[in-house]
Symmetry: C6
Subunit: 279 residues, 6 copies
């Protein structure tokens, strides 16, 4: 009709559940009974905590389990500046006023995804407290700012990761949070399995991969004796990739294994010596 100001409401688009499905089988080499244990926990929709050092495969494991179970996966890298709103959602300004936008945790609860909170101990307390009602018999998420109580989809499960080595007095999960999770321990794989991974991911032969793993073992023995962490599997794959691009092994090991780890001259000499033993 003439003269009437029309406005179409711009509705929130449907959440695209499929974008969170893992398309291809992630490369994952099981180490113990972790696949079976996780499966049982998922059947009970028990919240799960993955414990272990940096770069040992926790993220990959969750991706593998999401693929195996055929469930969507929503990953959130936690950090100390993340607020509860970053997880739960917030109001955004719109032509029709404010519009609610679900955060990743709310999306996961609605569509029945596995919600993976990576390094949750980095987050502030409001993050960890916000997940409490999703981790007990209630399985709901109160959107207090919106006045809505989201009942979690039956497929929804919450998974968090946790590096015990970082755990300081200042930053630790509260017992009332910890005791809401079953926990699985992770560690670097055995030498044989790790060499297999490095060869597969880094594009080098088994012999080279085994040498790299040997170097890593030496560095891991130095943890707490001058090094904060040993070389992760990821760094070994980096070194292998450089070698597969034609870089000589010593330069590759220096760039991918030694330099990132430490700036201490003595420690570097020790690590260089380890490299020279094998290459």
């Amino acid at each position: 009709m003439a003269g009437v100001c029309e406005r179409e409401s711009n509705e929130m688009s449907e959440i695209d559940r499929d974008q969170y499905l893992i398309e291809r089988e992630p490369y994952y080499r099981p180490v113990q009974n972790e696949v079976a244990m996780y499966r049982a926990a998922y059947e009970a929709r028990m919240p799960v905590m993955l414990k272990g050092p940096t770069g040992c495969g926790k993220t990959r494991f969750v991706e593998y389990m999401a693929w195996t179970l055929g469930k969507p996966l929503i990953t959130v890298a936690c950090n100390e500046d993340m607020t509860a709103s970053d997880l739960v959602g917030r109001f955004l300004l719109d032509i029709n006023g404010t519009k609610w936008q679900d955060g990743p945790l709310t999306v996961a609860a609605r569509i029945g995804a596995i919600c993976y909170l990576d390094e949750v101990v980095e987050a502030r307390q409001d993050t960890t407290v916000v997940i409490h009602p999703l981790t007990d018999h209630r399985r709901n998420l109160p959107l207090e700012k919106k006045g809505e109580l989201v009942q979690a989809h039956p497929d929804f499960q919450i998974v968090i990761s946790y590096n015990p080595g970082y755990q300081s007095l200042m930053k630790d999960l509260k017992q009332s949070t910890k005791q809401r999770f079953g926990a699985l321990d992770f560690d670097y794989p055995t030498a044989e399995i790790e060499a297999e991974i490095v060869a597969h991911e880094g594009g080098v032969d088994k012999a080279t991969a085994e040498k790299l793993v040997q170097i890593a073992h030496r560095s891991r023995n130095l943890k707490g004796h001058g090094l904060d962490e040993g070389m992760s599997t990821r760094l070994l794959v980096y070194a292998a990739q450089l070698i597969s691009k034609g870089v000589d092994p010593q330069s590759a090991a220096r760039m991918a294994l030694v330099c990132p780890l430490t700036d201490d001259p003595d420690m570097r000499d020790t690590l260089d010596a380890a490299v020279n033993t094998y290459f």
Copy 2:
């Protein structure tokens, strides 16, 4: 009429009181005279403080009482980043300007709900001070930003929970807050009642449940001697659920009871030994 820009006011929808009613009777096993005491306190609309360790059933008890009394229940998980506005409400931007949105405490005061502030000691002082006029003879809530004085519904009652073990110098309720509440002590149930709960909730037989409770008792004796908290009833239920999914008891206990509790190798050995004694 032609040429006139029309706008319909989008009014605040009526608060849906029914969504806060507990639909089914929550599973709760009374331990002492807490049901009668709470009922008397509710009759006087006395604010109540529930004291006790993590996972011992405080939240479940409030749900049970709300169901018994037939009153709506609004639960807020308190945290140190929660502001007074998160409880009381705030102005949101709207096409017609700003619109007030009640927070959960205000909603509870209006509809006559039991408002349960979980772990209130985690909140900042403005949260705890904001409840003061609702906890004395005034029974009102000044919405200072809106310039409204909400008189609480006759059914309204405030309940807070409090874990004395956490109580530190930095974080404690002020005396002027504490002395506004009658208090009920909670603790883990007796072995018999706890086994009943674990069997019922975890889907295992009585014998298995009793073993799990025995393990928990051992861990609770270690509180303050290497453990911050003993195993909660919730963790026992987790272990039982894993067992009922076919996981062997030792693996189930490791995932649900030992790993979540501690990363200390000695403590883990002690707890593993306790598990092996029974399974």
Copy 3:
């Protein structure tokens, strides 16, 4: 005229002075000459500071004086997250742009209310400084963000409360604030008056009330010797209310007097013993 977009200004509604009047005479038992002293101070419109421990009746006294003088009363519970804007007012977004909304202090200054800032020492400095021009010969309040200088209504008076026991190095009023107030000391009432209050408010007979007061006196003697505060009159009323609902006196005293006060086992034994002496 056709085709013109019309908008009606939504003007700030008149402040409803009557909503701040105390409707019924509050129950208040004078202890000393505080009513006469306050009346003289009010006649000079002298700012008044009420000093005394938690739950001894300061808030009730202000309500009583406001009722006696027939003036509106606006109470603000101060806290460390309260900003000057929370007192003075702020701009809110409106369809016609931003609109100023008076805070409670400004409302009180305009309508000639008694403005009671409860526990003012909890507030940040900007709160306490903001009241300065209202507490000397100027009797005005500059709304700097609005560019308006509010001249206080002739009836306006400012009253603050202050608990000397809390006064720490970090949190104390500045001398330039303190020296703007006449001060009245408050303390718990005498045993006889307190028993009268407990009987009247708690619905129990005089004998029971006297016993409760005796228990309170014992706890107050423990202040500084294991207790931060003794039992307030309010807690005694709570215990009386439970008894009047049919709860046995020992259970009532435990819930209302002992449990809220302390979690220390020895202190609890001492207080329990005091209860058992009288009931």
Copy 4:
């Protein structure tokens, strides 16, 4: 014309210079040559710093000088939560977008007022730095957020107050700020002048006023020996006002002189004794 959406711009109203003029001669008793010195400083438009203890008459002096010179006066009570924008101005949201609103300092610079920043040392550094270009040969104020350079009106002058007793390591003016001001020292008036003031302002006879001044002198000797500050002239006026309302002198002195000053029992005894000596 039909169909056209019209909007009238709501322009910023002219600043009302007259509202900042002091209407009646403020009661001020000169102590030394401060009136002549200030007048010479104003002629050179030299920024002036008034130094002295709480309640000794600095604010009254500025009002008196503004009245004498016939210039508008804009007073800002500084505090540690005040931002540069609170002084300079900010953008407010308007129907036509954002609209700049001058802060009190900018208003003063435009209309040629005396701008009095009370207790400037309480403000954050950005406040004190913001006044720099107004306090040297430039005499301008860059509104950086607005992109405007305000050239100060020829009548504009800046005055700040400063209590040397508060001056701590954490809170002091920077030398680059201090060295932009001529300074005048203030102190409590002589006994004779102070008694005159107390009699005049408090409505009591000279004899009573002199007694009150004697009590104040005793308290001022205790400064640094158990008292943070002695009794200010303002408190003496309060006591006098209570006496003139018919309160007995001892009660008046207790309410207006002793109670506001200290909660220390010994100190209170000392002050009570001083009161009893004279009344």
Copy 5:
């Protein structure tokens, strides 16, 4: 056309380059080769750091050089609450949405001004880091929030001032910032030149000016021995101005030289004695 809602875009007005030109030659008395050195640095568009104590003429020097070179000058008084956005610019809300507003640094880069950041060490790190790309071969300024890379005008130069005496452990420029500037040392002028300045600016005869300079020299020798800073040239000019208004020299010196500098009684005696030696 009838019925269409028209809106004219309110475009950002052209930046008025002329308003930043220094109109009259500033009074500046060169001390060493600083004019030639600055001119060479400007020819290389080298960023320049002016080092020296408070009130010794750094700001005046930059004004003089800008006037000599005929370039616009934009001065920013840095402070610890200033954000990168205060320098670079921000989005403001407009009827057509958000509109970018250049900050003073961006304006200077666009129009080819000398941008003078006064007391840059007071600013937070984001301020100092923001100038990095403008101070090396890139000579650009990324407006990250706007997604624009501003290439500096060929005339643009950055100048900062820095008081080495303030330089504390907490507040110092990072080496990666320092090493982007050529530096010129400033100090108080020689006695002869300073007397010339004081006579010229303060309107007194040479003899009086020389006496004031002698007093200043005495105070500067006390720096570090009870005084944080000696008397600046600016304070000498203040004293001269008071004298030229007819104030007796001792009173003028007390108000302009002694009182602003210190509240320590001994120090004041020493300074008063210095004054009395000459007047």
Copy 6:
């Protein structure tokens, strides 16, 4: 059609990839095998960390590599006030509501640029955590506030710089961040190469350049013995430029080499002596 309010959406303009291409070959003198190593790392799209002192050429190296590889380069100067939103993007208010604006990291991921985060250790943890999913097999960037998962363009690579000398206990990269990068060590070039650079960039002859380099070497030996850093190549270029403008070498060295580095009188004497040795 008459009377209808029309509004055109102001769409986000296409990102201009070309503006981020380096137009001319940057002047870069390779020192070791860093060009080949970087090239291999880029082929594997391995994230790279450049380690080295201030002003040794890290930024120039990245520009050179971007030019060599023909890829766009987006540089972000990190600082401790930078938020994750500054990197990733944010919602801006628009006439049609809020509109998402990509941050520099998101732009780089979309267009396949090399994203160079300069001095990443200065940033807060949320910045460093935000790059995690871009630095492992996922190579994606979740825009959590927008609910979009950006898959990085195949050309995208992340590069960070890091000054080991700054690395303090408070500010260091987390191991879980470090172990996502291959690392290249940088240092000042050899004397011969550095003289070549200084001559080329500063416009002086080889002999003068060599003298400047000798002075720099003396200062670098003082690092940790009174100097925080030695003179950077950049400062040498500054001195050379002043000399080429006709300034005498001693004055040039004082302004460009000595004054910026230190205010310590002894250290300045030492450096002046070094200058006088060569000029």
